[in-house]
Amino acid sequence: MTPETVIDMEHVSTRFGHHVVHEDINLRVVRGEILGLVGGSGSGKTTLVREMIGLDQPSAGHVSLFGERLDRIGPGALAMLRNRCGVLFQGGALFSALTVFENVAFPLQEYRAIEPTLIRDLVYMKLTQVGLGPEVAPRLPAELSGGMVKRVALARALALEPELLFLDEPTSGLDPVTAQAFVHHLQGLHRELGFTGVVITHDLDLMRDLCTALAILADHRIVARGTPAEVAESPHPFVATMFSGERGQRVFGTMAS
């Protein structure tokens, strides 16, 4: 059985005025894989992800999510599709006026298909799943550390049991130990919940530990796509500098050989 395609980008180009961001990008993400989206600063990784969720429209080409063309479906259907996706924004994007509990409960309350009595139990379970105790529930986002903000944001992204999870630099701004623990958590959640993931990252450790596939964005195109080991063999100069550097060798050396 061929695995189902969750995201399908066909001939996607993006231009802001004369500034070309993407040129003829073709990218498929299949169910169950976690795709690491890698590229230099300003290579348009975040823009690509925004196009996948339908927040931005590409200048040419089209994007399909769960087999539905995003440019052809109505706002109601788009909202339904988005309910099946979770997004972890880079800065967390927690609602600053709401407590941690209210932040995680918010999507559940808005979904309106869950009895209010269940929401409380679900929220505390989500917090446990991301490794937070119940004592953080009444705090405000401003009172949390960077790592905790990311965890709460992950709990909120997971609130509606998404089949597809977008993670924008999940470990940026975290210390190595916290980052490692966060990746470990994501791995466990992936095993348990079986979501499909798209991860924007620069973190080589994360690529090795979490991603089942990598796509390298450089020169406005996807220059390499495949398992981390396959991508590491790519002759493209960006990939070469990234993976053959001292750090790259240390992380991926054992894998490539």
Binding site: R31, G32, K126, P138, A142, L193, G194
Partner: protein
């Protein structure tokens, strides 16, 4: 278990492929159940479909109440969850509430769902959120008093800091941030010319019409110069300009400081060793103290112009003769008093806007609340100060 061989159409492909298969269909099979009996006479409760958020889709309450009678029978009923295609936290929660997952004997789950069930079985009950204690009138008064005291304290500290910093600046005038002052004068003064002119002209016309009708009945048309000149230059001009500036610039200043707190720009300034009061607050106060009296003169002029035009239309008083009559009808001290008021109002508006701006907490709710407070308090304070002026200068410049 006899049904084991009958696992039938459900393949054990694992959760990922299982989901893939189903999502390809337009609608996924909803969460359901069937009751069967095995050869030993036991009741088998076979759960089917997708026990997920979307599979249950709002029927959690209904399913729970239907299944509760089986749950109450305890050990007689075997829960067979092996035909459940996917299970997520919502489904697990509903099952956990009914069955408890406590005795592993009474329930059969697919191996890939075991971890999730285990997690719920071992879950610690979340703490009860303590209800906010009821607040009586005494508590309300106490918190009001606390709020007032903290405002008074902060405000005094702000004024003190400004006095100290301006003393230091006077000794080193090359440190005065003229650029910021001039930018604020442009923003709060020049850009407010249009709206103050419009409001001033309209109020002048209204005043003129109202008093003209009354004066005509007494045959005292020429006194319109006294009424318009005195009321506009002494009261309305300064008050209108100050209220408009409080609304326009007061909110902008408070919000600016609040967003700077949100984005940690205030902390960045302090970390560079640059005083917030010198760079951010003092320029605003100086700028408004300069711009507002100028706006008062402008508003006075336009309001009088509006009044003159209206008086010309109703009473037939020509505009040149009106202008000639003003100096003799209105003592010049009224005009000067209006300008002094403008200076004071400018300082009051800027101080209050900065005071509330600095109180903004780093969250969106507080930004809105404190900006509103800044404007409301600034306008109230302007009117309050105006009343004090009226009392203090009751013997000055009035006929």
């Amino acid at each position: 278990m006899e049904r084991e061989a009958d696992g039938g159409g459900v393949t054990n492909e694992g959760i990922i492929d299982g989901r893939g298969e189903q999502a390809a269909l337009a609608r996924l099979e909803p969460a359901g159940y069937a009751v069967r009996h095995d050869e030993h006479g036991r009741t088998l409760l076979v759960l089917t479909g997708h026990w997920t958020l979307r599979g249950i889709d709002g029927r959690a309450g209904a399913l729970s109440s239907e299944l509760r009678k089986y749950a109450q029978k305890g050990g007689e009923v075997v829960w067979d969850c092996r035909e459940v295609q996917t299970l997520d936290n919502v489904g697990a929660l509903v099952l956990w509430r009914l069955q408890g997952f406590a005795q592993r004997t009474g329930i059969e789950v697919r191996p890939e769902h075991a971890a999730l069930c285990e997690r719920w079985a071992q879950r610690q009950a979340p703490p009860n959120t303590p209800r906010a204690p009821r607040t009586g009138p005494i508590d309300t008064l106490m918190s009001l008093e606390r709020g007032l005291r903290s405002h008074a304290l902060d405000f005094t500290a702000l004024v003190g800091q400004i006095v100290l910093d301006s003393g230091r600046l006077l000794r080193r005038p090359n440190r005065i941030p003229w650029k910021d002052v001039s930018a604020t004068i442009y923003e709060a003064g020049v850009r407010a010319l249009g709206i103050t002119a419009l409001v001033g002209a309209l109020v002048g016309i209204v005043m003129s019409y109202l008093s003209a009708l009354e004066l005509q009945t007494f045959g005292a048309q020429s006194f319109i110069v006294n009424i318009l000149g005195l009321s506009i230059m002494r009261e309305l001009g300064p008050l209108l300009a100050a209220i408009l500036v409080a609304g326009r610039s007061g909110s902008a200043m408070a919000a600016e400081l609040g967003v700077m707190r949100l984005t940690e720009e205030l902390d960045a300034l302090s970390a560079m060793g640059i005083s917030q009061t010198v760079r951010l607050i003092l320029p605003k106060i100086v700028a408004l103290a300069i711009a507002l009296p100028l706006l008062v003169i402008w508003t006075d002029a336009i309001a009088l112009l509006g009044g003159m035009v209206a008086a010309h239309i109703i009473l037939g008083i020509s505009i040149p003769s009106f202008i000639h009559a003003i100096p003799s009808a209105v003592p010049v001290v009224n005009f000067l008093l209006g300008i002094v008021k403008g200076v004071v109002f400018g300082i009051v508006v800027a101080l209050i806007a900065c005071h509330f701006g600095l109180r903004i907490q780093p969250n969106t709710l507080s930004l809105g609340v404190e900006t509103t407070n800044a404007v409301v308090t600034a306008i109230t304070a302007v009117i309050f100060v105006d009343a004090m002026f009226a009392i203090a200068f009751r013997g000055v410049g009035l006929p």
